[in-house]
């Protein structure tokens, strides 16, 4: 079966569209993760989504929606606790990371959820997306693109220095919460799309490669999107050509680009 024939099947077409949308727009959230050092938060959200999947499977509710809901709850709780306790986001995230994975295993055991199903979220599948999943991915893509484009100066102020942003009249706390929200939703959606194990290929690697070349924040965002789009589209077609899973192909291409980026960085003398 060639690619054109394959795309005539709705699940494959849905998977392709979702992958392209994710490649084009989800690296914007990767820029947030890189700049605000939210790597621990990302793991917490993955664990919360796993807990959500377990709860969803136990209650026979859509695991994606429950995972999304729990990610949003985790974001709200982490922001609140960090703000009120004055603790660093990383410490608070670590607490929730451990708590959610502990609860996930408890739910899997007590509710008799087949571990295979619950852990299925770790590797995801672009061809098992429902129309609702695709609609959520499209809505998220539009929302984050508008957020970054229309609020660029405010967003870049927060990314630059939160205190200076606040002193310049930017509602820094609200914007930081919005940024955390975008990261949380991106993680939940990508777990369904390509799985927890491979999500960095779309979320983080394009942003990292972009940081090697970009000279401005606008360029940073834009190049991350272009690199993400390149990885997802070439990954999709490569997966057909080589008969390998699409998520693996996307990941290998993104990792290859990161390698090229590291070599570029080494020889161009770029440190920032």
């Amino acid at each position: 079966m060639n690619v054109v024939q394959a795309l005539s099947y709705p699940p494959i077409l849905r998977g392709f569209i979702a992958l392209v949308l994710a490649g084009c727009f989800f690296p914007l959230a990767g820029v947030f993760i890189l700049r605000l050092n939210l790597v621990t938060l990302r793991f917490t959200l993955m664990h919360a989504a796993l807990l959500g999947a377990a709860v969803g499977l136990a209650l026979h509710v859509d695991p994606l929606l429950v995972g999304l809901g729990l990610d949003l709850l985790a974001i709200a709780a982490i922001s609140r606790v960090a703000r009120e306790s004055g603790l660093a986001l990383g410490y608070v995230s670590t607490f929730f990371m451990v708590l959610t994975i502990g609860l996930a295993f408890a739910v899997i055991y007590k509710a008799g959820v087949p571990a295979k199903d619950a852990f299925g979220i770790l590797w995801g599948s672009i061809y098992s997306l429902s129309r609702l999943d695709l609609a959520l991915i499209a809505a998220y893509s539009a929302a984050i693109a508008l957020f970054v484009t229309l609020g660029f100066r405010r967003v870049s102020a927060v990314l630059f220095h939160r205190e200076i942003a606040a002193a310049s009249g930017v509602r820094e706390a609200a914007l930081t919460s919005a940024i955390l929200l975008f990261v949380g939703v991106a993680v939940a959606l990508l777990m369904q799309l390509i799985g927890a194990l491979l999500m960095d290929s779309i979320l983080l690697l394009p942003a990292i490669v972009s940081s090697f070349r970009a000279r401005s924040t606008r360029g940073f965002f834009l190049q991350a999107c272009i690199i993400g789009a390149f990885c997802s589209i070439t990954g999709f077609f490569t997966s057909f050509a080589l008969d390998v899973p699409a998520s693996s192909a996307v990941t290998v291409i993104a990792a290859g680009l990161l390698g090229v980026g590291l070599i570029y960085r080494r020889f161009s003398g770029r440190n920032a």
């Binding site: 890189l34 100066r153 405010r154 002193a167 310049s168 940073f220």
Partner: protein, 218 residues
């Protein structure tokens, strides 16, 4: 007697159970240049942050440009207060010099043309027009501080708060920055409050000096 630009009455401020500012009162007239000096831990930076509304007072009140800090009216006019922070910001992500200055226009609701004009005028005013497309991370400490000033100038400020702006500068850059501040004060009438314990800065003749120690003015 005209209303001062900054008026602080009986300000007390606590952090993590420790009193940082004790019954601080201060008047800064419009157009005045004031240096708040004192040893590390005296509460100088905390005072600036309180004026900016970043720290909540335990007692007392602060009026800036006639509005009580924290009030709705103050929040609306917050853009008229510029803030130059203690150290040139260390960033490890790509941001251009122009984008840093542009932050000053973030909440002003200007048209694209007005924004561009204001950014360019601010960069020319501090002598940084040639740096526009340079990466911020690659600039010297002096250049970064000038960009901080340009960012504030975009806001067309009436009050400028400066937290040890010369602390990481070499003597030449320090002199350039102080000249720049003097010029802005004389030409635009911007009220300036600078926190510093730099001996060279404290010897500047046109600045009024108040000394702080253990959370109170001496």
């Amino acid at each position: 007697m005209p209303e001062p630009c900054i008026r602080i009455d009986g300000l007390c401020l606590d952090r993590e159970g420790t009193r940082i500012l004790r019954d601080v009162s201060l008047r800064v007239a419009c157009g005045e240049r004031l240096i708040v000096s004192g040893p590390n831990g005296a509460g100088k930076t905390t005072l600036l942050k309180a004026i900016l509304g970043m720290m909540k007072a335990a007692a007392g009140r602060i009026l800036v440009l006639g509005q009580e800090v924290g009030s709705r009216e103050w929040a609306r006019g917050r853009g008229r207060i510029g803030y130059v922070n203690q150290e040139s910001v260390q960033v490890d992500f790509p941001i251009s010099a122009r984008e840093v200055v542009e932050i000053g226009t973030a909440t002003l609701g200007l048209s694209r043309a007005d924004r561009r004009r204001r950014i360019e005028e601010a960069m020319v005013a501090v002598g940084c027009a040639h740096l526009q497309s340079r990466m911020y991370a690659r600039l010297s400490g002096g250049e970064k501080q000038k960009l901080s000033l340009a960012r504030c100038l975009c806001q067309d400020p009436q009050v400028l708060l400066l937290d040890e702006p010369t602390s990481s500068l070499d003597p030449r850059s320090r002199a350039e920055l102080m000249d720049l501040l003097r010029g802005l004060n004389e030409e635009r009438g911007i009220t300036m409050v600078m926190v510093s314990h730099d001996a060279q800065v404290l010897s500047e003749p046109a600045w009024k000096i108040r000394h702080m120690e253990a959370g109170a003015f001496a």
